[in-house]
């Protein structure tokens, strides 16, 4: 028997005898996530984090104090009963644990991987507080992933669907929010059609988040599940152009519509040289690489991508990390991550920053490009950067980056990837008269995700601005409940 198993058995014995004290729980070492070797993974797109073993999961679960006030739950946007599912893991009842999670979250295999737990459930965890280190909090996300993956290995149950109501609902956009709405509304017995503009459903989970962080097979399983429930999925259909929302409701017989189109309009910096060959938005770079599999160009995939030697990624969020790590895998020799604040202010997850560094991404903090320089053929040759220092806190509460005069210097690169966020895609707004939007083009909704048009609901990034998968799912849940309620009285 391995040491780990011995420790686990001892702890379980103690628990059985009701002798397991918080002190014992604090003494269990935080379980580290097994990962693929950093050098090896530079050359493949397979998943980096490999997942806990059963023993590891149960040990980690025993670190949970089962707090009565459950601070972790308050940090969860979809209010998963965290303490309860973790207790089931400790006892080895993984199926029960999954059932508990599924009551509140429909995509645990996704959320366990991509949720920023360190600023949600794990931030408020008592164990982390005790050690004054959020990294020592109970690894709720990894435990969620563990049970979700455990469930994946067995045939999953298709959720029950209520008898047909005769009501039709259109869900626009097959991303995480749309998938949640489609599931919940279909469960209530309504006829649901999910419209997707791309040739493949999944939204940011297929075009944006790379395979090495979220295997596409997981997304495909969730889509299969939807189809088994009787949700119709129509790809290559762009609402606003192929049919408008008005047409869907007045001509095609849809009683309600959910708009979950995401924030599909990349921002640029509006600096000199952004039109040079070799400058990408992160959206374009990631879409070419992930959705179109440009890393297999000439071997079954037909979409090309820059074959770069030296790459600069501009930005400090998860999308910037994804872009940088994708560039590494596409064979770039040097990948620089250029961010105008310090590492502390980076919005990216700590784990992603850590993985990026392990894979050799070079961090250039407190720097920002002033212009992009080209050669005679208009290919990117270098970026000219300014050095920055931190000033007073700004509206976001983070210290404002202030450029240092005369600090210009060049970094030689052939590719620049701009990952500074997305604006709202104008299409739905332009083609839906009466739909109220704010000055940034985000759709205005009430607390039930209802828009200014009766029967039309919206959520996710098109409402929130660029946010996360879990927030889109949380809004989807609310919206679905509101739609089901609306259709009762309609």
């Amino acid at each position: 028997m391995t040491d780990e198993k011995e420790i686990l058995n001892e702890l379980l014995e103690k628990q059985k005898a009701a002798a397991l004290k918080p002190k014992d729980r604090y003494e269990v070492p935080p379980q580290l996530m097994p990962t693929q070797d950093a050098v090896e993974r530079r050359n493949n797109v397979s998943e980096v984090a490999l997942g806990y073993t059963e023993t590891q999961a149960r040990l980690e679960a025993l670190r949970c104090l089962q707090c009565k006030n459950a601070p972790c739950m308050k940090g969860c946007p979809v209010k998963i009963r965290i303490g309860d599912f973790i207790a089931e893991i400790a006892n080895g009842n993984f199926d029960k644990a999954l059932d508990i999670i599924r009551q509140n979250s429909l995509l645990p295999a996704v959320c366990g991987r991509v949720c920023p737990q360190e600023v949600q459930c794990q931030q408020t965890c008592t164990v982390g507080k005790k050690f004054k280190d959020v990294d020592k909090a109970v690894s709720i996300g990894r435990l969620e992933r563990f049970v979700a993956d455990y469930g994946r290995k067995k045939t999953s149950k298709t959720p029950q669907v209520a008898p047909d109501t005769g009501k039709k609902v259109a869900v626009v956009g097959a991303g995480p929010g749309g998938i949640v709405v489609a599931t919940d509304v279909r469960r209530a017995g309504h006829d649901v059609t999910l419209f997707e503009a791309f040739h493949k459903p999944g939204g940011v989970m297929v075009y944006g988040i790379p395979e090495f962080r979220l295997p596409k097979a997981i997304v495909a399983e969730e889509i299969d599940q939807l189809e088994k429930m009787g949700v119709k999925i129509i790809c290559n259909f762009i609402v606003g152009r192929t049919r408008t929302i008005e047409q869907l409701m007045t001509e095609d017989g849809f009683d309600a519509v959910y708009i979950g189109v995401g924030a599909g309009l990349p921002m640029f910096m509006n600096i000199e040289g952004e039109h040079l060959v070799g400058v990408y938005s992160a959206n374009e770079y990631l879409t070419r690489a992930n959705l179109m599999k440009a890393y297999d160009f000439g071997k079954g995939a037909d979409t090309p991508i820059a074959m770069s030697k030296n790459v600069a990624v501009i930005g400090g969020g998860n999308v910037a990390m994804d872009s940088a790590r994708t560039a590494v895998r596409l064979g770039a020799e040097n990948v620089y991550l250029v961010y105008r604040r310090s590492e502390k202010e980076m919005p990216a997850r700590v784990e992603e920053v850590h993985h990026a560094k392990e894979e050799g991404v070079e961090f250039h903090i407190l720097q920002n490009p002033k212009r992009i320089l080209g050669d005679d053929d208009s290919n990117v040759r270098a970026i000219e950067c300014l050095k920055y220092e931190l000033g007073q806190p700004d509206d976001s509460g983070r210290r404002r980056p202030v450029p240092i005069k005369g600090s210009e210097f060049e970094i030689e690169v052939d590719t620049v990837i701009i990952a500074i966020g997305n604006g709202a895609n104008p299409l739905i707004g332009q083609t839906t008269p009466g739909l109220e939007m704010n000055k940034w083009g985000n759709i205005i909704v009430d607390e039930k995700c209802k828009t200014s048009i009766a029967g039309v609901y919206a959520g996710g990034d098109i409402v929130l601005g660029a946010a996360t998968v879990i927030l889109a799912m949380g809004q989807g849940r609310n919206a679905a409940a509101a739609i089901n309620e609306y259709l009762k009285t309609e």
Binding site: H199, L276, D302
Partner: protein
């Protein structure tokens, strides 16, 4: 959902046309809009092509394309009755069709295809339409009869003089602008360099000019920004802000450079395909 090719024809050495079933798109399409097609698998390239015409009764859209890379070569190898994997559309803003008086429609090479439905719409609303269509040589000239049927006046040219007048399209365009009553609007669609020079001519005479841009795209819905161009000093996306823009404000030089971004990879892919095609006998 796959789409059947109802009929397909070769218009010149490298130019092909096909009518393809796409019922929903036909209902929604307006002149000036485009579609994105994927040939087969989910990893086929997404190819943006302007809609060259629609047949509401048959539920078909007409596409016209030039064989330039692997994907367009593959498309050219399909036959009537074959299926196209997927078609997304109609995309982009429709042409603003208005009665302004005299409209000059200038088309070059493959650009004649997207120009035709616009010329028809301009004529239908009551404009006098003068069409100037050109190609490198006689063999590459397309849609002459269609333009003859829809124009009040038609000027046909070839660069080498093998057919029609030997001149570049800018020459008759300039003459039309110099006339006592200059045109009220010009529309130029063709190779980027042609559009650039057409705009230089009309700028001099202050004739408002629209161009339709065919930049590199991935999604075609505003998501990737790969199609961006500089218009009046601002960054615009061809897929959602265009494809038509005020030609006097477009930075064509920048656009031309961006168009060549994948030249080497595209050439390699085409060669590889041609070799494969030859081996399986598609070239016979």
């Amino acid at each position: 959902m796959a789409h059947k090719i109802v009929s397909k024809q070769q218009l010149s050495a490298d130019v092909f046309t096909a009518d393809i079933e796409a019922e929903l798109i036909v209902q929604a399409a307006h002149p000036g809009q485009f579609v994105i097609i994927c040939l087969k698998s989910q990893y086929s390239e997404r190819i943006p092509l302007t809609i060259a015409g629609t047949d509401k009764d048959k539920g078909t859209i007409r596409l016209i394309w030039q064989r330039v890379g692997k994907s367009t070569a593959e498309l050219a190898d399909l036959k009537s009755g074959d299926q196209i994997g997927s078609i997304l559309g109609p995309l982009g803003k429709p042409t603003h069709v208005e009665k302004v008086g005299t409209v000059v429609c200038v088309g070059g090479g493959i650009g004649n295809a997207p120009l035709l439905p616009i010329a028809k719409a301009m004529k239908q609303i009551g404009n006098k339409v003068i069409s100037v269509i050109g190609a490198r040589n006689k063999e590459l000239l397309i849609l002459e009869d269609d333009f003859a049927a829809t124009s009040d006046e038609l000027i046909v040219l070839t660069d080498d003089g093998s057919y029609g007048r030997k001149a570049l399209v800018t020459e008759p365009l300039k003459q039309l602008c110099q006339a006592e009553k200059k045109p009220d609007l010009a529309i130029a669609i063709g190779p980027t360099i042609m559009m650039k020079f057409c705009c230089e001519v009309t700028r001099e005479f202050e004739v408002p000019t629209f161009v339709s841009l065919n930049t590199i795209m991935v999604d075609g819905t505003g998501m990737c920004g790969g199609c961006r161009v500089e218009v009046g000093g601002e960054t615009k996306f061809v897929c959602v802000d265009g494809p038509e823009f005020d030609g006097h404000k477009v930075n064509f030089d920048l656009m031309m450079k961006r168009m060549s971004a994948y030249k080497d990879q595209e050439e390699k892919a085409l060669k590889q395909y041609q070799k494969h095609r030859c081996k399986i006998g598609l070239d016979k």
